[in-house]
């Protein structure tokens, strides 16, 4: 039964997952919490691990959720496969169309507008994903808020500095790498809470 739910959920996630990894995160989060496959805390841990390991975040998340929900490798296979399946069908149809007509999808006004609208919807999805994770389980004391603020500022800082100082910008871009920031936050967490 749980395998069927897992398949349907991740099929849905694959089918409606527009706009890349972070937007898909929002869909995974909704399904995972709705079925009670894991707590918010566990979900955040998975996102953290997905960010510091190689490969697309969506695949990492699906594999992890599949394993945790069933405690079996087959759960991972099923969740990851179910998420890829809609892409496979839709992309193959698009490839066929592309090969036969060599159409420029990009020039179609319906296509372009839908993409534009979806970009805005994805903003909402990601904002909601972040808001849903601000809970007593993830923000336990003032240190949490300080760490949140520090990582937030370090991530947006390189985007705010424009061209004038390439060296500063490059240094900041290196410092704002998600893997480095997560590692630093982990070290900080160990020092504060051990």
């Amino acid at each position: 039964m749980i395998y069927l739910q897992l398949f349907l959920s991740f099929f849905k996630i694959g089918l409606f997952g527009f706009g890349g990894g972070l937007a898909i995160l929002s869909l995974i989060q909704h399904e995972v919490l709705a079925y009670g496959w894991m707590s918010e805390k566990e979900f955040v841990d998975i996102v953290a691990i997905s960010q510091v390991t190689p490969g697309p975040i969506g695949i990492n998340c699906a594999t992890y959720v599949g394993y945790t929900a069933t405690q079996s490798v087959w759960g991972s296979v099923l969740a990851t496969g179910a998420m890829i399946l809609p892409s496979l069908v839709i992309m193959l149809v698009l490839c066929k169309v592309y090969l036969v007509l060599s159409t420029r999808f990009a020039d179609n006004v319906y296509f372009q507008n839908t993409l534009r609208y979806l970009r805005f919807a994805v903003l909402g999805l990601i904002a909601a994903a972040a808001l849903l994770l601000i809970t007593p389980a993830t923000f336990i004391d003032h240190w949490s808020i300080i760490l949140f603020g520090a990582v937030f500022v370090l991530t947006i800082l390189p985007q705010l500095i424009h061209g004038k100082r390439p060296t500063t910008k490059r240094a900041l871009a290196t410092l704002s790498h998600p893997i480095l920031l997560i590692s630093l936050a982990g070290i900080a967490g160990y020092l504060i809470y051990r």
Binding site: A48, G55, P56, Y64, C95, L118, I126, A127, A128
Partner: protein, 205 residues
């Protein structure tokens, strides 16, 4: 050819940290510059298609490139065979498997180990520091994405209205527990309807 596709995507999948967008330059170097399977223009078309279709960009690009390469480079042994139409599908399978396998194996190993040790006080202390950082990493790209969603016409042609739709959908998901799936469906219907109305008005003039 199948092995080359698998190997290329295995490399790309193993050595990219940070998701699909980080993969694109690597894929370009391997597939366009080194293997010369497709050219620059096709690569750009591929990105447009991979972004437009649902699912992960890395996987979508593997499907596209697997199909193109498979359709063009059918080995001689296959050309007269009845199964010649299947070759592109095998190429797709090889590319997708290569893209997915590294993440899958690494994450599975971590999932097995982490679930056994997550109760350790030291691990829990580390994760207490990591959790708020992860929330910040999800929230921070919103600024850049807002600007990008508004380009090339900043806050015009309904940009402000669309931004309020972003806000409304965030609130609906956050406070009312609406599934993001409905937001996506409504957005697509809305986009098609608004475009159809605009086109009709234009044709009347």
């Amino acid at each position: 050819m199948l092995l080359q596709l698998f190997w290329t995507y295995l490399k790309v999948g193993t050595f990219t940290l940070g998701g699909g967008y980080a993969m694109l330059p690597l894929i370009q170097r391997e597939v366009v510059d080194y293997r010369r399977w497709i050219d620059e223009t096709e690569f750009l078309n591929m990105i447009a298609l991979a972004q437009a279709a649902p699912g992960l960009i890395a996987v979508n690009s593997a499907i596209f490139i697997g199909y193109q390469v498979g359709a063009r480079h059918v080995p001689t042994g296959w050309q007269d065979s009845r199964w010649v139409g299947l070759y592109p599908l095998l190429a797709v399978a090889a590319a997708v498997l290569g893209a997915v396998l590294p993440s899958f194996v690494i994450i599975l190993a971590i999932a097995m180990v982490f679930s056994a040790y997550s109760d350790m006080p030291a691990i829990e202390a580390v994760m207490k520091g990591v959790r708020p950082a992860v929330v910040a990493l999800i929230a921070a790209p919103l600024l850049r994405m807002t600007l990008k969603a508004n380009s090339p016409k900043p806050f015009r042609e309904g940009g402000v209205l669309l931004l309020s739709w972003s806000l409304v959908s965030a609130l609906l998901i956050w406070l009312a527990g609406v599934s993001p799936v409905y937001i996506i469906v409504v957005t697509i219907v809305l986009a098609l309807a608004v475009t159809a109305l605009g086109e009709r008005r234009r044709s009347k003039q």
